[in-house]
Structures are given as structure tokens and as C-alpha cells.
């Protein structure tokens, strides 16, 4: 039976990986991902988990090792953050088209320079187009549940794609929360053993990763992209079966008090929790504000988002990433594209908030909603605003 415990979210996430009975964990420690891989190295050393923990020389080595072990048919997990994720970057683009279902927890952190160990989404947004399925967790329970969902979806033979679960560094990863940990029997009910479609096997040799000459490269890229888009069906199915078994339902786009809202905040990750409190405060004041949270970032659930946005006239889109020289932030740009020339589309205003661990408070969310209401009447000069930045 599942048991509810007070636990650090990183440890809860690592426990989910242990319950998934992974075979290989190539990992290199980096703040704030450290507690996840430390805990996993302990459970492997203690004999609680029969897995190979590979002490690699770098994140580039970690992801290379992940590709190799996944190709050999092993259930593979790793985790990274920020500069570590960027050191993996060259390899991150490879398991998607090669259909290796590696599962990774990215503990989101700002990028240097200046050096920052604190939370925002610049690391994962810089790796947006690596071709992995990407989800975001808001709470410890979600981090635990989404981890199991990731193995289930990634390894499904209809999908066979790598998958990332994003959790915010420190503000989620290092927080102690009440989390319901599923038992081994319950996890085994949900997660079948990994049976890859193809594996490296000397008894039946095949070549993985041949050169893609110009006559075939486009077809290979489109095949991968179509597989990624088609994975949404299995992602939804994985969440439905999780709900049937354990009673917690996840959706690609989640809403909070959005039904009759005129203005909607759009968030990703743990700041959504604060945003919900802000919505309650604004509702108490009689403001028709609501919240839309993006849980599934890739493949982007366009129809689900349009449905969730409903008849709202204004979207205040929060980005945790400043895209230098761009028209606006990555989430803002995504939604502007989604609603381009759609009849009755809401006005979209983009706010960059919470960079490098800067708190995004209830007051800041209220400020964004107020500004969006003003901008809706008088179009601002810039297509985004960095919230709370000091000028003098």
C-alpha cells in the first residue's frame, strides 16, 4: 500500500526511480540535482537497487553512456541541471531520432553568466528543440508521479522516445513535502518491464546511428517529429491509467478557477502554486482572474491549450527565461504562434519573471494581471516586460 510521508522532493523523485527498478544510472553531480543522484548511488551501494551506477567523467559522458545503455535495452535514468545540461547538449539531440527511451529529471536552474545556482527555466529552454517529451511538475507529489509516468510513456513501443521531467531547483527540489509514495506492487502494476523494439545484440547485429545522407536526412527528421507528435495519445493514456489506479489525474494543460475568467495567468512549474494563491486573492477582490498551467511542454498540446484558455480575453504569460534579442520569451512566442489569426484570440502579454531565483510573489502575479489589463487598453511598446527589474 502507498504511504504518505514527509520527504524532500529530490529524495521522493529518486525513490520513484528506484521503484521503477532502473538498470543503469550514468550521472554526474551538479547543484541543485545533487540529492537525486546521491540518493540513487546510496541505494545502489546498499544493495537496495540492482543497477549499474556509472561514475562518468562529465555530463557529456553521462548522456553518451545513457545512449549506449538504452541501445543495449537497459532501463536508463540520469539527471542534470543548468551548465551540466548544456554540457550534455551535443548528445541530447541524438536519442530522440534514434528512439532511445532515456528518462531524465532536469532540476531547473539559471545559466551563467553571472554564475547562479538558483532556479529559473533558462537551462531547459535553451534545450527546447532536443526532441524529447518534456513535462513540468509543480509539487513533490507530481514529481514522484510524473517520474513513473515518464518511464511508462517513454518505453511504450508506440513511443520509444526520451523523456524529461522538469522540477524547479531548490523551490521544489529541496523542499520537504507530504508525498504519497507508491509501493513496489503498485508501481509494478503500472509500469511493465522494458521491452525495446530493437536492441544491440551480437546474435542479431544491426547498425544504430548510421550517417544520414542528404537523400534520407529530411525523412529521418520528419519521422522523429511525427513520432513525437503522435506520443501525445500515449501520454494521455498513461495519465488516465495512473488516475484509474491511484486516483490522481494529470492533464497536459491544467486550469485553476479559469471558467469565467477574463484574464488568465499562464505558468509552468512550481510558481503555479503561488499563482493559485494570487488568483484566490484577486477573486476575493472581485477580479475575474484565473490560471492555466502548462504541464506538457513538448509535444505542445495546442488544442488542449486553446480549450483551456476558453473565452478569456487576455493572457498574462509568465516566462522564466529571458531570450536575448528575441521578440519575447519562449512560452510567450509559442502562445502567440498558437493564436495567430485565430478568430476571437485573446490578447497575449508576456512577462519575464523569477530569473536566477528571484522570488515571484503573490504581489508580483497581481502586478502582472493589472499590467495586462492596462496593456489590453493601451498597447505597450515592447512585446514583453521583465517584472520587478530595478532601473536605478
Amino acid at each position: 500500500m502507498a504511504k504518505r510521508v514527509g520527504i524532500e522532493v529530490s529524495i521522493a523523485l529518486a525513490e520513484a526511480v528506484k521503484l521503477a527498478n532502473v538498470d543503469v544510472i550514468p550521472a554526474y553531480p551538479i547543484t541543485p540535482q545533487t540529492h537525486i543522484v546521491e540518493h540513487l548511488s546510496e541505494v545502489v551501494a546498499n544493495g537496495e537497487l540492482d543497477a549499474e551506477f556509472v561514475l562518468v567523467e562529465s555530463e557529456h559522458g553521462a548522456m553518451s553512456c545513457c545512449c549506449g545503455s538504452s541501445a543495449a535495452g537497459a532501463r536508463t535514468f540520469t539527471s542534470s541541471s543548468a551548465q551540466g545540461l548544456l554540457l550534455m547538449s551535443e548528445i541530447l539531440f541524438i536519442p530522440g531520432p534514434m528512439r532511445f527511451p532515456i528518462v531524465m529529471a532536469v532540476v531547473n536552474r539559471a545559466l551563467s553568466a553571472p554564475i547562479s545556482i538558483w532556479n529559473d527555466h533558462q537551462d531547459i529552454m535553451s534545450q527546447r528543440d532536443i526532441g524529447w517529451i518534456q513535462t513540468f511538475a509543480d509539487t513533490g507529489q507530481e514529481a514522484f508521479d510524473l517520474m513513473l509516468h515518464a518511464f511508462r510513456v517513454a518505453e511504450d513501443r508506440r513511443v520509444s522516445l526520451p523523456m524529461i521531467v522538469n522540477i524547479d531547483g531548490f523551490t521544489l527540489s529541496h523542499v520537504v513535502e507530504a508525498v504519497e509514495l507508491l509501493s513496489q506492487e503498485e508501481v509494478d502494476q503500472y509500469l511493465p518491464p522494458f521491452k525495446p523494439r530493437y536492441r544491440l545484440d551480437p546474435r542479431k547485429p544491426i547498425t544504430m546511428g548510421p550517417v544520414g545522407i542528404p537523400e534520407i536526412y529530411s525523412e529521418a527528421k520528419v519521422a522523429h517529429n511525427e513520432a513525437l507528435k503522435a506520443s501525445k495519445k500515449v501520454i494521455l493514456q498513461g495519465w488516465k491509467e495512473f488516475a484509474d489506479l491511484f486516483g490522481r489525474q494529470y492533464n497536459p494543460i491544467e486550469t485553476y478557477r479559469s471558467e469565467d475568467a477574463e484574464v488568465l495567468l499562464v505558468t509552468m512549474g512550481s510558481i503555479s502554486e503561488t499563482a493559485m494563491t494570487a488568483i484566490d486573492t484577486m477573486r476575493d477582490k472581485g477580479q475575474k482572474a484565473g490560471l492555466v498551467k502548462i504541464r506538457l511542454w513538448r509535444p505542445f498540446p495546442g488544442p488542449e491549450f486553446r480549450k483551456a484558455a476558453g473565452k478569456a480575453k487576455i493572457l498574462a504569460v509568465v516566462d522564466r527565461c529571458l531570450a536575448p534579442g528575441a521578440i519575447c520569451g519562449p512560452v510567450g512566442a509559442e502562445l502567440r504562434s498558437l493564436f495567430y489569426k485565430v478568430p476571437g484570440a485573446p490578447k497575449i502579454f508576456n512577462f519575464i519573471a523569477g530569473l536566477g531565483g528571484r522570488d515571484v510573489t503573490v504581489g508580483r502575479f497581481e502586478e502582472m494581471v493589472d499590467k495586462a489589463l492596462v496593456f489590453a487598453k493601451k498597447r505597450p511598446k515592447e512585446l514583453y516586460e521583465v517584472i520587478g527589474v530595478r532601473e536605478k
Binding site: P97, R99, T207, M208, E215, I216, E219, A220, V222, A223
Partner: protein, 97 residues
């Protein structure tokens, strides 16, 4: 251009772009790339086999009499054999026509 047996589209391309049979590089005629070719002078050749060792495409073939021939289906004309030959028995000449 490689000799492909069929026109492959994104729906029919192999899973993960894997090559499902071993030894398939035989089908890839790298000789099509060649702009120059090696010519062996058997008067100078001492049958040492260094060209055979160094050839990246296994295009130096030893014949029954111990001398070497070039398999032009696969020779890319890279010139490594000529560079490595200790007796300067291999000359690289431009392909013509």
C-alpha cells in the same frame, strides 16, 4: 549518388533510422565519389601489403600472384595507399571523362 533499391519516405524509413542487416556497407558504392585513381607499378611492388592495411575501404585486393589490384567500385581515390607505399609503387592519376 548511392544506389538505393527503393525510394524511402518518412513513413517507410526504418525505426530510429537503424540499418537492420549487418554488412550492408557493401551496398554503398563509395567509388562513385572518386576524382582520381591509384595506379600500381608491379615492377616496384614488393607485395608488402601496406596499401591493403591502410586502405579505409578495403579496396586493395591481393591477387593469386601476390600483387594488389584496386577495386574501383569502392576506391574513393583518397590517395592514402600512394602516400604509405614504401616503394613509391603507387601513383595517383586524375580520372578523365
Amino acid at each position: 549518388m548511392p544506389n538505393t533499391d527503393a525510394i524511402i519516405g518518412w513513413k517507410t524509413i526504418t525505426f530510429g533510422c537503424h540499418v537492420m542487416e549487418p554488412g550492408s556497407s557493401v551496398k554503398f558504392r563509395t567509388g562513385d565519389w572518386r576524382s582520381q585513381r591509384p595506379v600500381i607499378d608491379n615492377e616496384k611492388c614488393i607485395k608488402c601489403g601496406i596499401c591493403w592495411i591502410y586502405c579505409p575501404d578495403m579496396a586493395c585486393i591481393q591477387t593469386e600472384d601476390g600483387f594488389f589490384e584496386i577495386d574501383l567500385e569502392y576506391c574513393k581515390g583518397c590517395g592514402i595507399c600512394a602516400h604509405e607505399c614504401p616503394k613509391d609503387a603507387i601513383t595517383i592519376v586524375p580520372e578523365e571523362g
